[in-house]
Symmetry: C2
Subunit: 180 residues, 2 copies
């Protein structure tokens, strides 16, 4: 941030009174502009035969790789609504949201990711503009080597293990930057 | 938002290609400025005798009312770190974070609130700059009529009920605007 979104004047980094870190503060109207982490919300849509809906990304990052439907939460919606909306946008698929299943902190990119268990309601899905393909995968068909993101891999691994035991356990995982 | 934080030129509301809602788009550099919900993160600090740490607010909104330590999550931290930092700032209190206990969606103010169960580690607490008082309350001492926010009341109600049964169940609650 270089300019004040409220008045257009330059901003400068400074420490507001009683604050604990520097903020972008307007040099004219003195508005303090905070920057905060963003929520990414998605779903694990399961069809009645146990297969899971994945989308192959038509956008960067990770163009061409497979992911669960997920994206930035918008103002004015709930996390469950965000998960359903992203599934509709990326896969033209309708789901019923079940429990919150996983939360990932990615502090190095200022993100918190939430994934919900979900029931896929019909088979009338197709790629949205951000997807190249949308497909159902059984546990033994998951494209493990071409998954787009670590939280997607971890979520699917836990999901299949939990499903086998018939007990889904919410997981809260903190990630550090990928090493490769 | 009226001006572009990147170049200082005016922004205008318009619908970017393939998007589903209007955004603030810069009229000069064409940067799309997204606005997303914010995370509020807090803790339920329990001392070894079962009492819970509450803070009486020295700031608006709800100046003078009691709350659990909580506040806006910052860039570069995890949700658990945010809960511990807020407890340190508001109550000069050290905690050990346990499980995520409650999530509230408040879509009408673009917030998601998370509350963690936590163990208070010592009794050397005191009001931070945002608190008038910090105090431990037993279940029968909670100032129910002067709690600051509905999520705080709901969380404490569930917490004591769950503690009695010795089973803490994560809850995901969507709130609508207060009617009064
Ligand atoms: Zn300004
Ligand atoms: Zn611009």
């Amino acid at each position: 941030m270089k300019f004040c979104p409220e008045c257009g004047a330059p901003v400068a980094l400074s420490l507001p009174q009683d604050d604990h870190r520097e903020r972008h503060v307007c040099t004219v109207c003195n508005t303090i502009h905070y920057q905060n982490p963003k929520l990414i919300v998605g779903a694990i849509p399961e069809w009645q035969d146990g297969r899971i809906l994945l989308c192959r990304r038509a956008i960067e990052p990770r163009h061409g790789l497979w992911t669960l439907p997920a994206g930035f939460m918008e103002n004015g919606e709930t996390t469950a609504q965000a998960a359903a909306r992203e599934t509709l946008e990326e896969a033209n698929a309708r789901i019923e949201i079940l429990d919150l299943y996983a939360m990932y902190n990615l502090p190095y990119i200022n993100q918190v990711q939430l994934l919900y268990r979900a029931t896929l309601l019909d088979l009338d899905f197709s790629p949205g503009v951000e997807s190249l393909e949308v497909e159902l995968f059984g546990e033994n068909e998951i494209p493990w080597d071409t998954l787009a993101f670590r939280p997607i891999r971890y979520t699917l691994e836990h999901y299949f293990a939990d499903r086998k035991r018939d007990e889904f356990i919410f997981r809260n995982t903190d990630l550090t930057p990928p090493t490769r």
